[in-house]
């Protein structure tokens, strides 16, 4: 199983830390933090671009903003020399996908959004047919309602057809708290007899990393800042 260090980034590409995906605070420079993660023994880095923009001395969600920031110039010198694989989660943009792979990202993925499903599916299909299904993934934020679970099954059916390799389930309510084992069990049930790999994010502590609860998952995402790494010294070769 892979341990993914997830860096949540504002529109300005600052590393931020949220509580249940709200109230973001500044954590540090993205490139410095990712270097610390990369040296810690993490399996992979995931850069997640959010809609938070720095306004009025704090980060505010800019819902009207449909554009990705100027990612390519920022990462151009750094990504190709990284010694761990690097994935990035952006708003769907086919032109930017090409640029990101060219820069050296190993995977490009997207956050599932009910209001933008068509564009997301289009982008997933584009990546699968050009760069291979292994080069893309979908992040699905869940509150574990009945409609959430039903919709997840439909989404999986669709993206499996495109050959998408992995879906990462984010337990929104567990973020910065603890893993909810019954939610993990729900995902484990959905996972049975599915071709796609399942990753998990939300409330992960170091003690969860070797837990039997996650034995069928392909990845666990931890994130926010480097506290996890400093306190727990991520196991090498994980």
């Amino acid at each position: 199983m892979r341990l993914i260090g997830e860096l949540i980034l504002s529109h300005e590409l600052d590393t931020i830390k949220t509580t249940a995906f709200q109230s973001p605070v500044y954590c540090g420079d993205c490139l410095n933090i990712s270097k610390i993660w990369a040296d810690s023994g993490i399996s992979e880095l995931l850069f997640s671009i959010t809609r938070y923009k720095f306004q009025n001395a704090g980060y505010q969600k800019d819902k009207a903003n449909k554009d990705n920031p100027e990612i390519d110039e920022y990462f151009s010198e750094y990504i190709s020399s990284l010694r761990v694989p690097a994935s990035i989660c952006i708003k769907p943009s086919i032109r930017l996908c090409d640029r990101l792979f060219d820069l050296g990202f190993d995977r490009v993925g997207f956050n599932y959004n009910l209001n933008n499903t068509e564009k997301i599916y289009q982008a997933l299909k584009y990546i699968s047919t050009r760069y291979g299904g292994q080069a893309t993934f979908l992040i699905y934020e869940m509150k574990f309602t009945h409609s959430d679970i039903e919709n997840l099954s439909n989404v999986i059916d669709t993206i499996q057809e495109y050959g998408v390799g992995e879906i990462i389930i984010k337990d929104v309510l567990a973020e910065n708290k603890c893993v909810n084992p019954s939610n993990v069990d729900v995902i484990s049930m959905i996972m049975k007899e599915r071709e796609i790999r399942f990753g998990y994010s939300g409330g992960i502590k170091f003690s969860d990393v070797c837990s039997e609860h996650f034995q069928d998952f392909s990845s666990l995402s931890i994130g926010g800042d480097i506290t996890f790494v400093k306190q727990n010294k991520v196991m090498p070769g994980f």
Binding site: I79, D106, G165
Partner: protein, 187 residues
């Protein structure tokens, strides 16, 4: 001696440029017109059908064949390695047929760090398809090494001859663990 990375619509080109730049002079090319002492790189991060189509449309297939016939060397990485085979479950289009065998769809995505059996270092795999040991037609002048996927399938990890080095894993991520394998071939 220099290294030429083929850029034809797929691949993590800049990462390969940085990686292979540690071994020798590197140039990114869109047309194949190589000298015998130059090493051609077929990059990974691609789709078999897309690659096969691209090589055909851009009239590159025959030039790759000519490069090898002339005694030139070639490195194939991940999907750039898979295209060297006869065929793949990923497409109805043919591979280059330089290596004999079929690329099969694995039960699930094979992704993560696995041990290289020969020297114990970990290398990074990211493949939905692979060459199963049962689908490989062994060729006498090649060395073949295998690895087990997360689901227990045995797939070809890399193969090597005097002129061809094919790696299912990504050396540009794996770095130290395969430095000797790649370095010895390029020299």
């Amino acid at each position: 001696m220099s290294i030429k990375i083929l850029s034809s619509g797929w691949g993590n080109i800049n990462k390969l440029r940085t990686y292979f730049g540690c071994f020798s002079n590197v140039e990114v090319i869109t047309e194949v017109a190589l000298k015998t002492n130059e090493v051609l790189i077929l990059p990974g991060v691609g789709n078999f059908e897309f690659i096969s189509n691209s090589l055909l449309e851009n009239k590159i297939r025959s030039k790759i064949d000519q490069h090898i016939l002339n005694g030139g060397r070639l490195i194939g990485i991940c999907s750039g390695f898979q295209i060297l085979f006869d065929s793949s479950d990923e497409s109805n289009l043919p591979g280059l047929g330089i290596l004999k065998g079929k690329v099969s769809k694995l039960s699930k995505l094979n992704i993560g760090w696995h041990s290289m059996e020969t020297n114990g270092g970990d290398v990074y795999f990211m493949n939905r398809y692979g060459v199963l040991d049962t689908d490989l037609k062994k060729q006498n002048d090649y060395e073949f090494q295998f690895t087990n996927t997360q689901d227990g399938s045995r797939i070809l990890s890399y193969c090597r001859s005097e002129k061809i080095l094919g790696m299912q894993f990504h050396p540009e991520v794996s770095r130290d663990a395969c430095e000797r394998l790649v370095g010895d071939f390029i020299k």
